[in-house]
Subunit: 376 residues, 2 copies
């Protein structure tokens, strides 16, 4: 395997959908502290999770995440394991009480969540965009919400399909008193969250927050304590909350890396904006640059309704798909990595998470323009 | 926090029970490859788990673990999440078929396993050493094994209590046809495993194999495919096996670090021995040095029956416990970290896993001798 380099000799730009690119400053810090975290004589991986050193790392990470996402004090932050697919079972085990739950189907991930929940509750479909191949979000005014739903599940950004809620649904305004559950794995910390509309949010860390193996759960206090008897203790939100995420040994390295990422995000500025607000400005600019270029070309196409396109995951297709391999090979040569689309969708996908700078999207657009010029 | 150093200026010796010390060479390699794994232009944390780079890391780690532990071809190796406490539910969800299971209670961990399994099956106690405060293993000849048990659970090394099976029970010889399940979290790869006696082995990686957040499961093929309907898909052994541990995004960094550790273990030699056999020779020498010193002193005591003392976790007590704090403070000064005993047992505990060199135990014994001399 040869060294991949951008023309300027920098690290390549990595468009992986997850696990995904991390801020270079975070990786450098982790490398520097690998054998001795702040004079402790230990790698973070070698610390007892119950010792004061790791305790301080975990407490700081939680506080920084709370500040970063403006999480109100009546929500618990839980550091767990199992990822989004694990949460597809863990959420109904904790929240459904064995009764009904409503699912809004908008793509691959919400479809999986709905299917898995059927093991534990009466999992209903309140709305679906399957009839338009997940290219347009169903209007909340049309959702068939159940009177007796224990919760309503939404995937607020579909990583595979590239479709995103530009604002979270207001269930109360729709006549529902059920808590909203959002799977925000693939756009957490890319934009603000209106917590007044949310009961529980979960996400794997490996897209926007840290390495794979860490799952973030943010849950409103009143939703704790209602788990089914068959819920494993290690995945019972109340047990995890009562033990400050240390009922079982937590993924300590993941928490440390996420904590470094939270710090990095808090320090980012863009004009008058800081933290997530700054990232949101950058993400708007990055997405607009890429979508505008695609829309202005007959050589490339994105099929998602412009009103609900994802700022994080941009699937696109070459008009002539016989050029896909050449496109990917040339991209690798140009230091643009992991652009192949998900196998269920095909084509290309550029994931442009927080750690992707505008310069990376500019480099991608420049490559796409040149590829079009030389192949059109 | 001040820099902890051994007199020779080396890293301190870390006796944490887990997460625990890792081989320094492994940490150095991880630091060096942090920003660019083998010319890929990516950190391992930034790689898609479905890409060829991480695929090669995962395949190699599995092959190396199979070689290291001499795992027969009719066993699957699964890389999972949730740790030992997660497995306490995941094992009965997959193996019990909702029927009976037998538990041998030998300390804190087997007690927890038995309690959690009661959610899913008729979890029975086949034997217990609670009457002698978990200081002596119950003789297998006395175990009350059920005719209809779906499996028999044993914790082959109790991390908290410091008690270890010197050989695994031969259930067939005891008249049982049930598969043996072993929780080998805290002594995996410290000694060989007689797989002819085992149906399933599980362990958190964070003691002898890698960082927290990775769970190793080794399961005989015929035990796959019998999960209860309520088993979450992400924790269904057959689903995980059918997807080569990539049903959900695996803890990629943990697999990478464990893989580096497997390589390190395979390379170790001790006289004519290599790999685990070499580690076993070293571990015998380390444990003997420490137990012999403790037994020869009236100042320190270990309460476990000599026939079943753990080679990995050595709990010990000062005759005068009012000196505990002074002992721990002096140890830290001497570069000997994390010696405080588990809160449920008290006193001290030296965990001397594979990554602890003989020199570390020698330094501990020298410190203990000096502390005794100056305080007796």
């Amino acid at each position: 395997m040869t060294q991949q380099q951008t023309p300027a000799g920098k690290r390549p730009y990595n468009f992986s959908a997850g696990p995904a690119a991390m801020p270079e400053a975070v990786l450098q810090r982790a490398a520097a502290e690998m054998l001795d975290w702040q004079g402790s004589g230990m790698s973070v991986m070698e610390m007892s999770h119950r010792g004061k050193e790791f305790g301080s790392i975990c407490t700081q990470a939680e506080a920084d995440l709370r500040a970063l996402l403006a999480i109100p004090s009546n929500f618990h932050i839980l550091f767990m394991q199992g990822g989004g697919l694990g949460e597809n079972a863990i959420v109904p085990l904790n929240l459904s009480r064995g009764k009904a739950a409503d699912f809004v189907i908008t793509g691959s991930w919400s479809t999986k969540s709905h299917k898995e929940a059927q093991r534990y509750c009466d999992a209903r479909v309140a709305a679906s965009n399957a009839d338009n191949q997940h290219t347009k979000l169903p209007d909340p005014a049309t959702w068939q919400l159940s009177k007796d739903a224990s919760y309503v599940h939404v995937c607020s950004n579909e990583t595979i399909n590239g479709i995103e809620f530009q604002q979270l649904p207001d269930l109360a305004a729709l006549g529902s008193s059920a808590p909203l559950v959002i799977d925000f794995s693939s756009h957490v910390a890319s934009r603000s969250v209106d917590w007044s509309r949310v009961g529980l949010a979960f996400g794997g860390a490996q897209k926007n927050l840290g390495p794979a193996g860490l799952t973030i759960v943010v849950v409103r206090d009143d939703l704790l304590g209602h788990a089914l008897e068959i819920c494993p203790s290690a995945f019972n939100y109340k047990t995890v909350a009562d033990n400050q995420s240390m009922y079982n040994t937590p993924p300590t390295w993941g928490i440390y890396m996420a904590g470094l990422t939270f710090k990095w995000l808090l320090e980012q500025t863009e004009g008058e904006y800081t933290g997530v607000a700054a990232m949101e400005q950058r993400n708007i600019a990055k997405a607009q640059l890429l979508y505008d270029f695609i829309d202005g070309s007959d050589f490339y196409a994105n099929r998602i309704d412009p009103g609900c396109r994802s700022r994080m995951n941009v699937p696109f297709f070459l008009a002539d798909e016989s050029r896909n391999e050449a496109f990917l090979a040339g991209a690798r040569e140009a230091g643009l990595l992991q652009l192949k689309g998900h196998k269920s969708v095909g084509g290309m996908r550029a994931s442009i998470y927080n750690a992707m700078p505008l310069a990376g999207v500019q480099a991608l657009v420049a490559y796409m323009r040149e590829f079009e010029r030389s192949h059109a």
